[in-house]
Symmetry: C2
Subunit: 328 residues, 2 copies
């Protein structure tokens, strides 16, 4: 079945995502109208994803829409913000069917419910190239309470949420580069690659506790490097303290070289943040309250020759590449 | 010279666009922070553009960035809103050089000054496909004062700003499909295709005068059809009243069939709006104040079998296609 024309397509697939979003005007106008909650600062982020670069063209379509939304929500989490809504543009290649779009939108609808945000507007165009998606998320935070990348101090502890490396290993699993790994581990890693968990409940608890924060999208070492540069500091990580999932642990046990991939691969969408050592108790309480595990993985140091050093039993681990750049 | 890696690229080409935009945090954080002006409603729109679909791959790069921003500003104009800032994502193919990006960003910088808005954030990724751009514009309007597509009444006059058809004919001129047209006319039409004129000064004057408004992006007849559907009405246009530029007039004089293209082609980015006949005097004053020509081109009628009829000396003009759909 060929695609319906632009307007029918929007009505069928995307208008349901704007239901109950008053300012979206049913996606039938030139722009959305939004009365921002009084006394809140707006938080705005945008991310793009290209088939074959940021997701696999044969990923289930419902996970593609959800991943797009979630990587943006992860940016809000890193600022300690709450989601409000989003705008999305889609550039669709000829092979996209209405059934594909149904599933894509179904995934988004599910996540809208889960995260409390709706579609405000956007644009749908055709492309002769790969499926290309862009999403701008709108959130809010109390004035002066946003977490930023600036502010880490020497002596601060470095913390990370959840587990590290699952997304990068998930991509390897999905492209048959993890032979011998048990099926349940492959499935767990693939799921993490396809469906990031934006750490919104954690982010909104970190204001006043974390001195700097960001989300790990391009690899732990590279992203922690951003915190270092913003503060004019270096960081030391303890390899043994970096939290691995059971599945990632099994992959690394089978091939020790994959540990470096965990540290430098992308697609974690965990929060990495710094906090004074005295906040350890408060952070343990937050982990207990939110159910999001937190691990203390290192500390900030005065600037040294290497931005981020990873030590195993006190010996520096060589890392071939420090992270994933979206431009190669 | 190969492209620098993602972060160097952002620093060189895009960070200068975020200078003096406080909440942009120098594009160095996960999201932008924006304190919305008190007592204003936010207006948000997003548009995507693909090389070879929405612009020509060999268009001057400075015009490509400006067109992207301007088509979004045109959406704000259609709502009567004022621009505040924008977020942009770029998916860059391998052939894009730093020099190309310099020119692209230079065009944006110029328009930022002209329209009073700055870059708040975004994302830069690579693509194996065509250059694909997405922009979300943020504006504001006084509460309850936004123009929308809903609200036209039978008997209202239909008005349009500027001239119609230049963008569509400009695309024909640039692709050598207007043989024999004088060089200065070709240049004028090409310029209109590449650089829309968002009618912001007009939009912000129309609140309380226009009953419905939108910008003409997909062709006058199709876009006026949206106003008709939103109101449950039809519209009648007088062909002789549709304003053509000198260049478009010359093209139509040489090939009368091009008149239909003017009415149904896209890329005008003029405002089409409805207003009670009694507002004619007020509209003449607005045209004089803003320097933006306004033409009364028809009227809204009770719903008939055809949504938009175009009459020439009282005889209905057949139109082969009613507009440009971005999905074919």
């Amino acid at each position: 079945m060929p695609l319906p024309a632009e307007f029918a397509l929007i009505a069928r697939h995307f208008r349901p995502l704007a239901e109950d979003v008053p300012g979206a005007l049913a996606l039938a106008d030139d722009a959305a109208l939004l009365d921002p909650p009084a006394g809140r600062t707006l938080v705005l982020a945008a991310d793009a994803m290209v088939a074959g670069v940021h997701f696999l063209p044969d990923d289930p379509p419902d996970t593609i829409g959800r991943k797009l939304l979630r990587v943006n929500l992860s940016d809000l989490a890193a600022m300690g913000a709450d989601p409000l809504g989003y705008l999305m543009t889609t550039a669709l290649p000829p092979g996209i069917t209405p059934e594909w779009l149904d599933a894509f939108a179904r995934g988004l609808k599910e996540d809208q419910r889960g995260y409390g945000c709706g579609l405000l507007g956007g644009d749908t165009v055709s492309t002769p190239g790969p499926l290309t998606l862009s999403l701008t998320v709108v959130g809010t935070v109390a004035p002066g309470r946003a977490l930023t990348r600036t502010g880490a101090r020497a002596g601060d502890a470095v913390w990370v949420s959840g587990t590290i490396g699952d997304g990068a290993l998930g991509l390897l699993a999905l492209t048959d580069r993890l032979p011998g790994l048990a099926g349940r581990h492959r499935a767990a890693l693939a799921d993490r690659y396809r469906l990031p968990r934006p750490r919104l409940p954690l982010g909104r608890r970190l204001s006043g506790i974390a001195t700097a924060c960001l989300d790990v999208s391009d690899g732990l070492v590279q992203d922690l490097g951003h915190l270092c540069r913003a503060a004019g500091l270096s960081a030391e990580l303890e390899a043994e303290a970096v939290p691995l999932s059971e599945a990632a642990g099994a992959a690394v046990a089978a091939n020790a070289a994959l540990f470096a991939r965990c540290l430098t691969g992308g697609d974690d969408y965990e929060l990495v943040f710094t906090a004074p050592p005295a906040q350890s108790g408060a952070l343990a309480a937050i982990a207990a309250d939110t159910g999001i595990p937190l691990a203390r993985i290192g500390r900030m140091t005065p600037a040294g020759p290497t931005e981020v050093r990873v030590l195993r039993a006190g010996v520096e681990l060589p890392l071939a590449e420090t992270g994933w750049s979206h431009i190669r």
